[in-house]
Amino acid sequence: MAITDAGVMYGLLAVGAGLATGLAGIGAGVGEQGIGAAVVGVVAEEPGFLGKGLFLMLLPETLIIFGLAVSLILMFAWSPFAALL
């Protein structure tokens, strides 16, 4: 099905942008879940590890920012896509 309506196109872009951030968020969450549990375990044994633990736990957070970057590109730099019409 060819998309000929700019409104439909924009709507689909918005859905795509939402999915990009949302799914990236789920991914980051799944990643952090395991690390978080392990870090809490280690910190309970050795409180001095808190800083390094935080460091490890926050690593997957960049994932969601990637998703967000894609969303921002879709939402704000969509003119190239409109040219496809």
Partner: protein, 674 residues
């Protein structure tokens, strides 16, 4: 500030008859970080505890047990004591008070144990009340075996089969069946097997007499009596705690100091008549240490500073750690908390605290960016400051306090007081409607607030910048990434210098430097693409290639270039400065819109504002803003923290493992008068 304090390796040697006065002086100076003697040299062995050391440590153990019984924990000091006061009261504390506390505490423990055992007996007796045999009848037979317990199904018939001469009493208690089975001793094992089939669980019958009901009542009365005896004893301990807490903490400190002094020779190298102390002293304080030791011993001591190269050799050959003393001016000091949370820098590394002080609050402010929230946080923290007086809390409060000031500054830039478009318009005014439409039409809309009579300021009338406007988002994306370039760039420069400090030239120029070139060039390349300025794009593209080639030539070879995605994601990661901020603005905006735009007009039905509409609207407003504020403290704190730990520290920090913190021989007196 950026580097740890310069240290000198010092050796102190002298005759044993001046050892005590040297230890006394060193402790008072609180300057020398002692390196423990681990043996290995001819003629020298580890020293022994001096003087009354044994007595002091025994007293300390005694005192600590009193502290445990009275539940005394370290706290901010209320009163301070002179040492003489402590010495004169020590016997009283360790004699009379210790006996009193110990006997009271032991009595309480005994009462608790007794209550527990009586409670167990009651629990065992309760099911037996259902059978109603006197308790003494359950035991004391020579020819009879007795089984008492709960079963899942009736047992009478089966027991009668194997042991015709038997008696079974049954009762029911809380949905379970209680049985008491009396059989001849010779049938005991068979009956036991039968009972096991019926899910028999034994109850151990207490050695008491009389009917179960009566026995339970007696036990309960006794428990009550014991509890009433315990109460005044507990109150007594509480009173003793109140009365003696301060002096016990001071005595603890006094004894700790004494044992520290008497145990000090354990860390020295001693021969029959002499001793040697190895250690580190801040270079600036070396002369002070030397003259103080010489004057206190009348010159009968040898204090020597090793040269740089000798120090280097000790580190390399014997694996000695040069202690790190990080020192920062008062306003920067709270941020040491963030550094420490990660790791203490090594002696040759940089202390990033100053950088955190510069960047962290700006990032916090850029994310939160709201005048109203900033003021609220500062007010709340001022109240908390009086309550939480321990060092860690004070530092944390100061960190957020400084960051909140930046949040107010950014609030002014973004034109936000409790969210955009609400109070700002009322206080500072906003553009007329037609002008907003015209701006939107021409694609130059950056917001509608104004700075009072100044109007909109900056290039293209950019400020106050309404963060949810498309133009503003695009601009903030660029700003965030370039803050990242700056942040990571400084990290990389420090990385190059750190590697040079360690003498690793190859790592410095082919591992750290290309990262700097790559990140700067990559960001400028993107800028060139956005602006459509091709010469810049080509030049930066070339630099990116150069950086990659340098990485491949580096110590890791081709593997070095595999880190490229990490360095790109480093920069993209800074987008969170914009993103988290947008989320918090979004919630604040929604709160204002919901209250003023939806709830208030809806409830008042288009007419003038009714009282109900006003109240409901304000409640909604407060709740949503409160939640937003809570989130607004947490995430602007965590995310810059991550940007420092992950994005910046990886460029230069703790690549060689954490350092050892400078902890001089001495004691900072908290409860004793100096």
């Amino acid at each position: 500030m950026l580097r740890p304090v310069e240290m000198s390796r010092v050796v102190v040697a002298g005759s044993k008859n001046v050892m005590e006065s040297v230890v006394e002086k060193l402790h008072e100076l609180n300057l020398m970080h002692i390196v423990n003697y681990t043996g290995g040299a001819d003629y020298f062995e580890q020293g022994k505890t001096m003087g009354k050391g044994k007595e002091f440590s025994e007293n300390l153990i005694k005192l600590r047990s009193i502290e445990r019984y009275l539940d005394i924990k370290p706290k901010a000091p209320d009163v301070r004591f002179a040492e003489s006061q402590i010495i004169s009261q020590m016997d009283d504390l360790l004699g009379r008070l210790a006996n009193d506390v110990t006997s009271t505490y032991e009595r309480i423990t005994a009462i608790e144990a007794e209550v527990k055992s009586k409670q167990d007996q009651i629990n065992a007796l309760r099911p037996l009340a259902a059978i109603d045999l006197p308790i003494e009848l359950y035991s004391g037979y020579e020819t009879l075996a007795v089984f008492v317990g709960t079963v899942e199904s009736a047992v009478d018939a089966d027991v009668a089969k194997v042991a015709p001469k038997s008696e079974v009493f049954t009762g029911s208690f809380k949905n379970t069946t209680v049985v008491a089975v009396f059989v001849p001793v010779e049938k005991a094992s068979e009956v036991q097997a039968i009972l096991a089939e019926h899910g028999f669980a034994e109850i151990s019958v207490p050695k008491l007499t009389g009917a179960p009901d009566v026995a339970i009542a007696t036990l309960e009365a006794e428990i009550k009596r014991l509890e009433s005896e315990k109460e005044p004893l507990q109150k007594k301990l509480k009173d003793l705690k109140k009365q003696y807490e301060d002096i016990i903490l001071a005595a603890d400190e006094y004894l700790s100091i004494q044992t520290q002094k008497t145990d000090a020779p354990l860390r020295f190298a001693t021969s029959e008549n002499a001793f040697v102390i190895d250690g580190y002293v801040p270079s600036a304080d070396y002369d002070k240490l030397k003259s103080a030791l010489e004057s206190t011993t009348g010159g009968r001591i040898h204090v020597e500073r090793l040269s740089e190269s000798e120090m280097e050799e000790l580190v390399e050959k014997k694996g000695e750690d040069i202690p790190t003393k990080i020192e920062n001016p008062g306003i920067v000091k709270p941020y040491e908390l963030i550094t420490r949370l990660f790791a203490i820098p090594e002696y040759k590394e940089f202390d990033p605290t100053l950088l955190i002080f510069v960047f962290f609050p700006i990032m916090f402010g850029m994310i939160l960016g709201d005048v109203g929230y900033g003021i609220m946080i500062i007010l709340v923290l001022m109240m908390l400051k009086k309550k939480f007086r321990t060092e860690g809390w004070t530092q944390l409060i100061n960190i957020v306090m400084i960051a909140s000031v930046w949040s107010i500054i950014f609030g002014l830039i973004f034109g936000e007081i409790f969210g955009p478009m609400g109070l700002w318009g009322k206080i500072f005014g906003q553009l007329p409607h037609e002008e907003i439409l015209a701006l939107e039409e021409s694609g130059r809309f950056f917001g509608e607030g104004v700075f009072g009579p100044l109007g909109r300021v900056g290039p293209m009338g950019m400020f106050p910048l309404y963060r949810l406007a498309t133009n503003a988002v695009l601009m903030l994306i660029g700003v965030s990434i370039f803050i990242g370039v700056l942040h990571c760039g400084i990290g990389s420069i420090l990385g190059v210098k750190t590697e040079l400090n360690y003498g690793e030239k190859k790592h410095a120029y082919f591992e750290r430097l290309p990262v700097l070139i790559f990140q700067v060039a990559f960001a400028l390349l993107l800028l060139g693409l956005v602006l459509g300025f091709m010469p810049l794009v080509y030049l930066m593209g070339l630099l990116v290639v150069v950086a990659i080639v340098m990485m491949v030539m580096g110590p890791e070879g081709v593997m070095g270039a595999t880190h490229l995605p990490f360095y790109v994601s480093n920069l993209i990661s800074y987008l969170r400065l914009l993103a988290i901020g947008l989320a918090s603005v979004g919630v604040a905006f929604a709160a204002n819109k919901l209250a003023f735009g939806v709830i208030m007009p809806m409830l008042s039905g288009g007419e003038h504002l009714t009282m109900v509409a006003y109240i409901v609207g304000v409640i909604v407003l407060l709740v949503v803003h409160f939640i937003n504020l809570l989130l607004g403290i947490l995430s602007p704190f965590m995310h810059p923290l991550r940007l420092h730990y992950v994005e910046m520290f990886t460029k230069f920090y703790s690549q060689h493992g954490g350092g050892v913190e400078y902890s001089p021989f001495g004691h900072v007196r908290r409860y004793l008068k100096v």
